[in-house]
């Protein structure tokens, strides 16, 4: 489709005059050459500034913030890590108990990763490799689930778990998270399995390996990069999740996750902003560390999972 455009193009504009003059091409190239850097610098500032702001507020004393709200330099003279101490100390000792919330978040997130991988690896292998009836419909069902409004799903789950008396338990949250991430996990893993040639598996099967043996010895090691990036992705989803944590756990403070804890404390006036900023840093830091450690794996996994859809 691009070919006719390319061949027809030179006919319409008048040919640029000989030599280096201020032709449209030269002007545009120069303007965009400069504009490009303006855009890059602007984007980096806009993207990263809130995180910088988050960090410097967390290490400033509160009165300094109130005195001079516009200051943006790192206050080397009055560095103050007290906010971190205050946010991590258990509630009984006058702190905000974020250490406990971190434990809750980590438990739920790791549990979600383990269970969803355990369930999704065989499932995605089956969808990718085996020919059975209803395979395509099941794929479509998973995609639909992935795109479904979670607020709609929240209503019946809220009702069921209230009725079962399980609302407020971390287990309830764990089950809901697994169900939420399973479709995207299956989707990403299936796409990866699709790229692995079947010849290796067939060879192993000919050598007398059972189907589960093939899955365990051949396919699983080959799919390891996708499995790891998927695990990290799921961890990030579960760690960041807010709506279900709010609906299920809001009345049981000992079970709060970090996200929920921060959002609940942000509404109260007793906790200083600097302490809450320390909480934000604590909430964000694990995600940023994971992201930079596995950036390539993650972005490739994401785009590979999405481009086909």
């Amino acid at each position: 489709m691009a070919v006719p455009v390319v061949t027809r193009r030179p006919a319409s504009p008048s040919r640029p005059p000989e030599g280096y003059r201020w032709t449209r091409d030269v002007i545009e190239t120069k303007v965009f050459g400069v504009l490009r850097w303006v855009v890059i610098v602007g984007l980096v500032l806009v993207t990263l500034f809130p995180f910088y702001y988050m960090f410097i507020l967390s290490i400033r004393p509160l009165d300094s913030l109130l005195r001079d709200p516009g200051s943006l330099v790192i206050p080397f003279g009055e560095l103050n890590w007290g906010a971190y101490q205050s946010i991590m100390t258990p509630q009984e000792d006058g702190g905000q108990g974020f250490l406990r919330f971190m434990g809750n978040s980590a438990m739920v997130a790791l549990g979600t990763v383990l269970i969803s991988l355990l369930v999704a690896i065989p499932g995605s292998y089956a969808i990718s490799r085996l020919n059975f009836f209803g395979r395509r419909q099941i794929s479509a069902l998973f995609l639909a689930v992935y795109l479904f409004p979670s607020i709609l799903l929240a209503i019946p789950l809220f009702t069921i778990f209230t009725r079962l008396g399980l609302r407020g338990q971390l287990v309830a949250l764990l089950i809901v998270y697994v169900a939420q991430v399973i479709p995207v996990t299956i989707y990403m893993l299936r796409n990866y399995f699709d790229t692995i040639p079947t010849s290796l598996e067939e060879a192993a099967a000919l050598d007398g390996c059972s189907r589960l043996g093939v899955l365990r010895r051949i396919s699983l090691p080959l799919a390891m990069p996708a499995i790891i990036s998927n695990g990290l992705f799921v961890f990030m989803i579960a760690w960041n999740e807010f709506l279900f944590a709010l609906l299920f756990l809001v009345n049981t403070r000992p079970n709060w996750t970090v996200s929920l804890g921060l959002s609940q404390l942000a509404g109260s006036i007793e906790v200083p902003t600097t302490v809450l900023m320390a909480g934000s840093v604590i909430l964000t830091l694990p995600i940023i560390i994971i992201f930079f450690a596995a950036e390539r794996l993650l972005t490739e996994g994401l785009t590979a999972g999405g481009e086909k859809g």
């Binding site: 489709m1 691009a2 390319v6 061949t7 193009r9 030179p10 091409d25 545009e28 855009v39 984007l43 980096v44 995180f51 702001y53 988050m54 507020l57 913030l65 109130l66 709200p69 516009g70 065989p122 292998y125 089956a126 969808i127 085996l130 020919n131 059975f132 009836f133 209803g134 099941i138 069902l141 998973f142 689930v145 795109l147 479904f148 409004p149 979670s150 607020i151 709609l152 799903l153 929240a154 019946p156 789950l157 809220f158 009702t159 089950i175 169900a179 189907r211 960041n240 807010f242 709506l243 970090v258 921060l262 942000a266 809450l276 909480g279 934000s280 992201f291 950036e295 785009t303 999405g306």
Partner: protein, 333 residues
């Protein structure tokens, strides 16, 4: 959805009618059927029990008088009523639907345009590009609660940074309550406009938060465009703007279309961002927040179900129309 449920147990028997009739009765194929369903069954059970059945139950709840208080006595069967839909058609539901639409359309378009600009600016390699590209994604992966809290603090009328510098450098007479002000008179070139302050703020936040997603996919697509295409256009004398509109943009259109659908769906359904930024105040109450308030503050499960259902149906219809329209366009070209 129910057809899938029906089909699965009928699998081995019904496969005779399947397209791969050649293999229909071979033991290998039967074994494959069984293995496939066995390996998939944990997933399937989980999704059916935790997602599909609850969604179907919402259908029932929407037609029942269920509140948090009588939750234990409510059954699956009857008594049915359409009273819940009163709240859909008589309350401020239409206002919040309009807000949701404005929020999703402008949020989606803004995020995609910003992502496109970022992808184009970072197209040519330079030292440190990998790091900058990775940093661009941070707003998208960061916990929503942390970033909304930071934005709320930044925009705070009393000790927020934006208002501080706005008053010092831009000559604002007073602090602007970005997240709670419904509308503001702005005069520009002698004309007076009324702009919805809080709504614009949450749309800007949405752009900031989700442009990395568009950036990621557009970058992947741009990298896949063969250099020879643009080289040929350059040789033929096409300027950078012409090359963008005639070579690059057509290659990106399918990706942009996919991004529009995905981002629109997610923004349309989104709850966290607005709930955390404004709590639904200042004219930013989207349907998801309305549903949440009905569910928790009023404890009215029936009305919440009815509204969520209408939201899902509207979304489904819009996406359906879009896909049909877009699918036709694809066929023509």
């Amino acid at each position: 959805m129910s057809s899938v449920k029906k089909d699965v147990p009928a699998g081995p028997a019904a496969s005779a009618a399947g397209p791969r009739g050649r293999r229909k009765l071979s033991p290998m194929a039967r074994e494959e059927q069984r293995a496939g369903l066995t390996l998939l069954s944990p997933t399937l059970v989980l999704v059916l029990v935790m997602v599909v059945l609850p969604i179907l139950w919402t259908l029932v709840l929407a037609f029942q008088r269920v509140r948090i208080l009588n939750i234990r006595t409510a059954g699956i069967f009857g008594p049915y009523t359409v009273a819940n839909f009163d709240s859909v058609f008589s309350s401020s539901f239409f206002t919040s639907l309009g807000t949701t639409l404005a929020y999703s359309i402008f949020g989606t378009a803004g995020a995609i345009i910003l992502g496109l600009i970022a992808a184009l600016a970072l197209r040519k390699p330079f030292k440190g590009r990998t790091l900058i590209r990775a940093s661009m994604l941070i707003p998208y992966v960061s916990p929503i609660v942390a970033v909304t809290f930071t934005w709320t603090t930044m925009l705070d009328p009393q000790f927020g940074l934006i208002n501080y510098w706005g008053k010092r450098l831009l000559g604002w007479e007073e602090s602007i309550p970005f997240l709670s002000e419904r509308a503001r008179e702005v005069s520009f070139l002698g004309l007076n406009f009324e702009i919805p302050t809080a709504l614009i703020t949450v749309i800007v936040f949405e752009m900031w938060r989700s442009f990395p997603f568009a950036f990621l996919f557009l970058t992947a697509r741009i990298n896949a465009i063969p250099d020879s295409l643009e080289e040929a256009a350059r040789v033929d004398g096409a300027t950078p703007i012409q090359r963008f509109f005639h070579i690059i943009l057509p290659q990106l259109l399918p990706t942009i279309a996919m991004l529009s659908v995905l981002r629109f769906i997610w923004t349309f359904n989104s709850f966290d961002d607005i709930y955390l930024l404004t709590g639904g105040g200042g004219g930013t109450e989207v349907v998801a927040v309305t549903v949440f308030n009905f569910l928790t503050a009023r404890g009215d499960i029936g009305a919440a179900s009815a509204q969520a259902l209408v939201l899902a149906v509207i979304l489904g219809v819009m996406v359906g129309i879009y896909i049909k329209f877009f699918g036709k366009k694809e066929e023509v070209s």
